[in-house]
Each structure stands twice: as structure tokens, then as C-alpha cells.
């Protein structure tokens, strides 16, 4: 027997989010971002071949989407519409940079309508991760960001913050321990 369909519920929820975001609800827009950001990043990075450029493109695409939300047909899902927007922006960016490239492949892996349930789950897990991150102390958060994202060494962070390197590593350890719960869920699901 077929399981009660989750897909229509997901679509209905997304339609509601789009509707609220169009009417100016920032939380609804944040939820749309949370839902589509992972796929958008993969797609943008594949298109541009650079992580930093991909992040800028994704941000630009979401802001354009925010502008154009009132133009979106309520019967059309947000995902494919957004990914078309992202792809066109990326291609324009590549053309502007006059980078030689072959026609970008279709964004199959990032296509949000391919696996809506996964998108939904990923969004939920990331919501939990955001909450765990927000629960860190500002110092722990800064240290973990500098170490894991910016690639600073413990000694460099220590000098920057006026701490001992051991102290920095201890904060890092505490931060990772706090994040472990949400991370373990992600690792188990392999949804990154």
C-alpha cells in the first residue's frame, strides 16, 4: 500500500512559504533559503568552479528571487523556478567574465523537485544545526568558524583573540562537542 503522500504536503508547505515570503514575511523567506541553499551551493559551485564565487552567486540568486517572488505563478513550484534563475545568473556571470566553458550541464543533482523529501529533511536538520550553532558562546562560535571555515591555525586564532593556543583548542573542543548532536544526525543520514 502506498504511503500517504508527503510530496503534496511538502509542496503545499512550500507554496505557503512562498506566499508568506511574497507578503514580506522574512522567516518564510529564511525557511525557503534553508530548504534550497544546499542544492543551490552544489549547483553554483559546479557551474562556476569556485566556492567563494558560488556563495556570491547563490546570495545574488536568492535576492533576485525575493524581488521576483510576486511574479511566480502560484501553481508552479518554487524550486525549479529558483534553480532556473540561479543557472541563468551563473551563465551571465560566466559570460561577463569571458570564461571559456562548455554549456553547463543541467542541475540534475541540485534539482529540488527530484527529491523533495530529502530537501525537506535536509532543511530540518540544518535548522537544528543552526540552533546548535546559535547556542554556542560568541567566542566558541568565532573560534570554530576561524578554524574550520577560514582555515586559521590555533596559534593564529590565539594571537587574534588574546588567548593561549591551548585555550583556543579547548574552546574548539567544547564547540564541536556541542555541535555533535546535530552533526551526528547529519552524518547518519548522509545528507550533506
Amino acid at each position: 500500500m502506498r504511503e500517504p503522500t508527503r510530496e503534496p504536503a511538502t509542496d503545499a508547505e512550500e507554496t505557503a512559504l512562498v506566499d508568506r515570503a511574497t507578503r514580506g514575511d522574512p522567516a518564510a523567506f529564511d525557511a525557503l533559503v534553508r530548504r534550497h541553499l544546499p542544492g543551490a551551493l552544489v549547483a553554483a559551485e559546479r557551474l562556476l568552479g569556485d566556492r567563494a564565487d558560488a556563495e556570491d552567486l547563490v546570495q545574488d540568486a536568492f535576492l533576485r528571487a525575493l524581488d521576483r517572488l510576486p511574479l511566480l505563478d502560484p501553481n508552479r513550484p518554487f524550486g525549479p523556478w529558483f534553480f532556473t534563475l540561479l543557472r541563468n545568473l551563473g551563465i551571465n556571470q560566466l559570460r561577463a567574465k569571458r570564461v571559456r566553458h562548455t554549456e553547463p550541464e543541467l542541475l540534475d543533482a541540485a534539482s529540488p523537485d527530484a527529491l523533495p523529501d530529502e530537501e525537506m529533511e535536509r532543511a530540518e536538520v540544518r535548522e537544528r544545526f543552526d540552533a546548535a550553532l546559535a547556542a554556542l558562546t560568541p567566542r566558541q562560535r568565532e573560534i570554530v568558524m576561524l578554524f574550520e571555515v577560514e582555515g586559521w591555525k590555533g596559534a593564529e586564532i590565539a594571537e587574534h583573540l588574546g588567548l593561549t593556543p591551548e585555550n583556543v583548542r579547548w574552546h574548539l573542543h567544547q564547540a564541536k562537542k556541542s555541535l555533535r548532536v546535530s552533526l551526528s544526525t547529519l552524518r547518519d543520514e548522509g545528507t550533506l
Binding site: V33, L37, Q59, L133, M145, V149, N167, R169, L172, H173
Partner: protein, 131 residues
Amino acid sequence: MNGEQINHSDGDFSQDPERDPFLGALLREARLRERIAVASRRHRMRLTETSWYGWVARYGRAAVPIGIAAALIAAVILNRSVRTEAEFAAQAAAATLDLRGAVAGGSRSAVTDAVVGPDSTEFLIAMAVDR
């Protein structure tokens, strides 16, 4: 926070731990989400401000000629009412002179004409036209 808070039973903090690419990717994503949230709020604010400025820009252009036209109309109306008062004063002065002249030596009908106006419909028509 100081070094004395370190609990060394938690592990060895003499060397940097291995970087965690999985965590790094998630943190990068979280940072980007935050960036987009901030940018989208600023963007919305800018749109609101733009609509205000847009309103001023749109109607600001029309406001100058409308203001000039209003000033001109006001000046014309004001000038007209001033002239009417002046005319009224002149008429009153003339009527006073007529009355004085009539009382000083004019006929009875001249006095009557000076007080209530001449016995003619022209007077009434002239008054109506003046008004």
C-alpha cells in the same frame, strides 16, 4: 575565559585537532544562510526606502510647476480682492461727495438720488455687473 578553565581530562590541547571538512561545509553553509538573511532584510528595507524616494521623485517633478501655478493663482485672486476693496472705497468716496453736493444746494430728487441711487434700472444693472 582563562586557561585555568581548561579541563585537560577532555583531551590533549597541545596541538591543533584535525580539521573536519564535514563540519566546515556545514558552518560555511550556516554562515551563508546568515549572510543571505541579513542581505534580504536590508534589501527589503532598501525597497521600502526606494518606494518612498520614488514617490518623491515622481511627484517632486510635478510639485514645482503645481506650486508655481498655485502661487500665480493665489496672487491673481489676492490682487483682485485688493482691487475690489479699492474700488469699493473709491465708490464710497464718490457717493459721499454726491451726497454732500446734493445736501449743499441740490434739488430734493438729487438728494434722493445721492442716498438711494438714481431712479433708473441702469443703476441696478450696473451694480449687478460690478458684483
